[in-house]
C-alpha cells in the first residue's frame, strides 16, 4: 500500500501550485480570505485567467479545450485551487451544462454554447428546483407547450443560484401531461434569460446576502432548437448529470485551508490569559474535526483510486463524500464563530466604523449560510437514502 502521489503527480501538483501562487490576483485572494462576496466581474476575471492558461475546463474533451488530465490530476487541480483559496467558479456552465451538451447536444448546440462557456462570455444557471419539487425533483410542474417552432414556458423555479447574473438557464420542464411514470414527459431546455416573460426575484438568505432567486416564467417563447436530447427524455439527461458529479464533493482542500485559518485564529484568541488553542475543550473539538477530515481525505483518495482502476463512474461514493464533506465544513464554520467568543455577535455596522473587522464580522453569517450545504444539491437525508438503496440494497 502506498498512500502517496507518484513523482509525476507531485510534479504536476507543484506546477499547479506555483502557477496559482504567481497568478492569483491579490485582491481576489483577500476577498475570498475575508469571506466577501465576489462580483460578477470578479468571477469572470478569474474565469478568463484560467481560460487563458487552458485550465478552465479540465474534464472536457481535448478538442473542445479540455486538458487531457486523468482523474487524479483533475482531483489534484481542484484541490490545489481550493487550498490556494481561489475564487469558486459557478459550476452550472462548466461542469453541468457542458457535459450534457457534449453527451446529448447536437453539433450546432455544441458549437453555439461551448466556446462561450469556455471563455466566460456567457454565465449559466440551473432551473431545477420548484416550490413543489425540491428533494422530489420529478414532481416539477413548470410546463412547456409546443406551439409551432417554439416551446411556450409557464411556471416557476426557486433557489436558482446566480439567476441574477446568468445569461442562460438550463432547465427541466414538463412537455406532456403526467400520465404514467412521473419521470416521463420531462424535457431539458436551454433558455435565454433575456427572453420576454422571465422575471427574476431575489431571495435574501439569513446571512443577509443575495445568491439565490425565484424565477418566474410567463408565456416565455423558447425556440424548439433549444431542446436538448429528445422531447420527454429530460430525466435521462438529469440522471446523467447526477452520475457526473465531481469526485471532490468532499471539498477537502477548502476545509484544510479553513482549518488552518481556524488554528491561526485560535492561537491568537485568548482564554483566561492563554491561547484558546491550549484550552482542552476547544482544542479537542477542533482536533475531532481535523481527524474526520484526515480520514475523509484518504477515503476520497481510495474512491478515486478505485475509479481510476475500474473505470467505473462514481456511484454512492459521491453521496458519502458530500455528506461527510458538508458536515466537516459546517463544523469548521461553527468553531470559527466560537473561536472569537462574544465578538462574533456584531455583523453589520450602523456607524462608519474605523477598523471594522470584516473577517470577524463574517464568521457568524458564514456559519448561518453554511447550513445550506447539507440541504442543497440533494439534501444529506436524500444522500443517505441513495446510499441505503444503491450500496446497501435496502
Amino acid at each position: 500500500m502506498d498512500l502517496n502521489f507518484s513523482a509525476e503527480e507531485l510534479a504536476f501538483r507543484d506546477q499547479v501550485r506555483s502557477w496559482l501562487n504567481a497568478t492569483m490576483p491579490r485582491d481576489l485572494r483577500d476577498k475570498v480570505a475575508n469571506n466577501e462576496r465576489l462580483s460578477k466581474a470578479e468571477i469572470v476575471r478569474w474565469h478568463r485567467m484560467l481560460a487563458d492558461q487552458g485550465w478552465i475546463a479540465p474534464a472536457w474533451p481535448v478538442e473542445w479545450g479540455g486538458t487531457g488530465w486523468n482523474v487524479v490530476q483533475r482531483y489534484i487541480f481542484e484541490e490545489e485551487c481550493g487550498y490556494a483559496g481561489a475564487p469558486q467558479l459557478p459550476r452550472f456552465g462548466l461542469s453541468m451544462c457542458a457535459p450534457v451538451l457534449l453527451k446529448f447536444g447536437t453539433e450546432a448546440q455544441k458549437r453555439r454554447y461551448l466556446p462561450k462557456i469556455y471563455n466566460g462570455e456567457e454565465i449559466w444557471c440551473q432551473g431545477y428546483s420548484e416550490p413543489g419539487a425540491g428533494s422530489d425533483l420529478a414532481a416539477l410542474s413548470t410546463r412547456a407547450e409546443k406551439r409551432g417552432d417554439a416551446y411556450v414556458v409557464n411556471g416557476q423555479k426557486i433557489w436558482t443560484t446566480i439567476a441574477h447574473h446568468a445569461d442562460w438557464m438550463f432547465c427541466l420542464v414538463r412537455t406532456s401531461a403526467q400520465t404514467g411514470k412521473r419521470q416521463e414527459g420531462i424535457s431539458f431546455l436551454l433558455v435565454d434569460m433575456k427572453t420576454p416573460g422571465i422575471r427574476v426575484k431575489p431571495i435574501i438568505l439569513m446571512d443577509g446576502g443575495h445568491d439565490v432567486n425565484e424565477v418566474f416564467f410567463e408565456d416565455v417563447r423558447v425556440p424548439a432548437e433549444n431542446l436538448v436530447h429528445e422531447e420527454g427524455k429530460g430525466w435521462t439527461v438529469a440522471k446523467y448529470l447526477l452520475g457526473h458529479e465531481r469526485m471532490n464533493s468532499g471539498r477537502i482542500a477548502g476545509s484544510k485551508r479553513e482549518l488552518q485559518k481556524l488554528k491561526k485564529l485560535a492561537s491568537k484568541e485568548m482564554r483566561n490569559g492563554v491561547p484558546l488553542m491550549s484550552d482542552v475543550r476547544f482544542r479537542d473539538r477542533l482536533t475531532r474535526v481535523e481527524i474526520e477530515l484526515m480520514a475523509l481525505e484518504i477515503t476520497n483518495l481510495r474512491f478515486l483510486d478505485r475509479m481510476r482502476r475500474t473505470g467505473q463512474p462514481p456511484g454512492a461514493d459521491v453521496s458519502m463524500l458530500k455528506i461527510k464533506g458538508t458536515e466537516i465544513t459546517q463544523l469548521i464554520t461553527e468553531l470559527m464563530m466560537d473561536a472569537v467568543g462574544p465578538l462574533a455577535q456584531p455583523t453589520l455596522p450602523v456607524d462608519d466604523i474605523d477598523g471594522w473587522d470584516m473577517f470577524v464580522a463574517s464568521l457568524a453569517p458564514v456559519y448561518c449560510l453554511t447550513r445550506k450545504s447539507s440541504i442543497y444539491a440533494g439534501s444529506n437525508e436524500i444522500q443517505r437514502n441513495i446510499i441505503a438503496k444503491m450500496t446497501l440494497g435496502l
Binding site: G134, G208, L343, P346, R371
Partner: protein, 376 residues
C-alpha cells in the same frame, strides 16, 4: 411540589402573549428591525403600562418585587416573539444591580424611572480578550478630586445605543484578571468622553463598542462597595442567565411548533415529509430537548431566587446554561434542516429564530465556558 403557575400569573402571561402576537408578529418585528432606532417606543410604553418593566422592581420603588420565577412567562414570550427591545439589559441586569446594591438615592433615581418606561440601561462589561470572563477587566477607574475618571474600551455592549445609563465594570485596583479590585459604576451614556460605535448583531439587536476617554463622573457613580464588583456581577449575571434560559424555552418552543407545522404540510413524493421516520425521530428529539430545557430553566430561576450558597447557585445555573446551549444548537440546526431551503430564507421566521438561538447559546458564556465553571 408544584410546577403550576398561579391564576394571576397565568392571566399576565396570556395577556403578554396576546400583546406580542398583535404588536410583535413577524412583519411588525421586521419593521422594527429596519427602523433607525432598531426598537419600538410603542411596545416599550405598552410594557410599562402593563407593569412588565416594574416586575422585578421592589415594591417601595413602584414595582412588584418579582423574582426570576415570576418573570419566566415574560421571558418565554420574549423568546417566542424574538423581541429585540432592551428588556433583559434594563430589567434583568441594570435594575438588578441597582436594587441589590444601589444607595437609596440611586434607587430613587433609577428604579421608578425604569418601571415607568423612562429609563433604559445596558451592561458594559465585555472587553477585547475577555471572552466570557467577568473578572477580565482592563478598563480603569481612577479616584479624582471630584469623583472618578474612567478609561478603557468595552466591546459588544448589547442595547448600548438605546440606553440612558450604563453599568460599567472597571478596575479600581489590581491586574487585568485579578478577582479583587473590580468596581461597578453607573454612568449616563451621554457623559462627555463616552463614544459609541454602533452596529447590529446577528440576531437583530443593536449594540456598540463603547470607548471611555477620560470620562469624569461624580463620586456617587460608584455602585455598591468599591472592589466587590466581581461578586456583584456574578450574582446579577447568574440572575440574567436564568432569565435567558427562560427566553430560550420560548424560542425553542416556537422553533419546534414552526417545524412541526412545516413537516405536516410540506409534501414531497406525494406525502407529508412528516410521514418519514427520519423526520419524525428528529423532531421527537427536538421536543424532548424542549422539555429538558424547560426543566433546567425552572431549576435555574428557582436557584436565582432562593439559593443561599453563591457557588452552588452558580454551578446549577451553569448546568442550565450548558443544557440550554446544547439544545439551542440542536434545535436551531435541525429546525432549519427540516425546513430545507425555506429555513435559510430571511422571509421565514425560523431563520430569525435560528439566529437568536445561535446567540442565546453563547450569551453570558458558551457551553465550554459553563462546563469549565461547573467543573471548577
Amino acid at each position: 411540589m408544584n410546577f403550576d403557575v398561579d391564576d394571576d400569573q397565568q392571566l399576565l402571561d396570556d395577556s403578554i402573549r396576546r400583546l406580542l402576537r398583535k404588536d410583535y408578529d413577524f412583519d411588525a418585528r421586521r419593521e422594527i428591525l429596519r427602523s433607525s432606532a432598531g426598537g419600538s417606543d410603542h411596545v416599550w410604553k405598552t410594557f410599562a403600562d402593563m407593569g412588565l418593566l416594574a416586575l422585578p422592581i421592589p415594591e417601595t420603588y413602584g414595582g412588584f418585587g418579582a423574582g426570576a420565577v415570576k418573570m419566566m412567562g415574560m421571558m418565554e414570550c420574549i423568546g417566542e416573539a424574538l423581541v429585540v427591545e432592551p428588556y433583559l439589559s434594563t430589567v434583568g441586569l441594570g435594575a438588578q444591580f441597582v436594587s441589590r446594591w444601589g444607595s437609596d438615592a440611586q434607587k430613587q433615581e433609577v428604579l421608578p424611572a425604569i418601571a415607568q418606561g423612562r429609563l433604559k440601561m445596558a451592561f458594559a462589561q465585555i472587553e477585547d480578550g475577555s471572552r466570557y470572563e467577568l473578572g477580565h477587566v482592563a478598563t480603569t477607574a481612577a479616584k479624582s478630586a471630584a469623583g472618578w475618571v474612567i478609561n478603557g474600551e468595552k466591546r459588544v455592549v448589547i442595547d448600548a445605543p438605546a440606553s440612558n445609563k450604563l453599568i460599567v465594570s472597571a478596575r479600581t485596583s489590581g491586574d487585568i484578571r485579578d478577582a479583587e479590585g473590580l468596581s461597578l459604576f453607573m454612568v449616563n451614556t451621554a457623559t462627555p468622553g463616552i463614544r459609541l460605535k454602533r452596529y447590529t448583531t446577528l440576531d437583530g439587536l443593536r449594540a456598540a463598542d463603547v470607548t471611555f476617554d477620560n470620562v469624569a463622573v461624580a463620586a456617587d457613580a460608584l455602585l455598591g462597595t468599591q472592589g466587590t464588583g466581581l461578586v456583584m456581577m456574578r450574582e446579577v449575571v447568574d440572575f440574567a442567565t436564568a432569565l435567558l434560559c427562560a427566553e430560550a424555552v420560548g424560542a425553542i418552543r416556537s422553533a419546534n411548533e414552526a417545524t412541526l407545522d412545516y413537516i405536516k404540510n410540506r409534501k414531497q413524493f406525494g406525502v407529508a415529509i412528516g410521514s418519514f421516520q427520519v423526520t419524525q425521530h428528529r423532531i421527537v428529539d427536538m421536543v424532548m430537548s424542549y422539555e429538558q430545557v424547560k426543566s433546567m430553566a425552572c431549576l435555574a430561576c428557582v436557584q436565582a431566587d432562593t439559593a443561599v450558597d453563591a457557588d452552588e447557585r452558580s454551578r446549577i445555573i451553569s448546568a442550565a446554561k450548558i443544557r440550554v446551549a446544547d439544545a439551542c444548537r440542536q434545535v436551531s440546526q435541525d429546525a432549519v434542516q427540516l425546513h430545507g431551503g425555506m429555513g435559510l430564507s430571511d422571509e421565514m421566521k425560523i431563520s430569525h429564530t435560528f439566529r437568536r438561538l445561535t446567540m442565546i447559546a453563547r450569551q453570558f458564556g458558551d457551553a465550554d465556558h459553563h462546563l469549565a465553571r461547573f467543573a471548577a
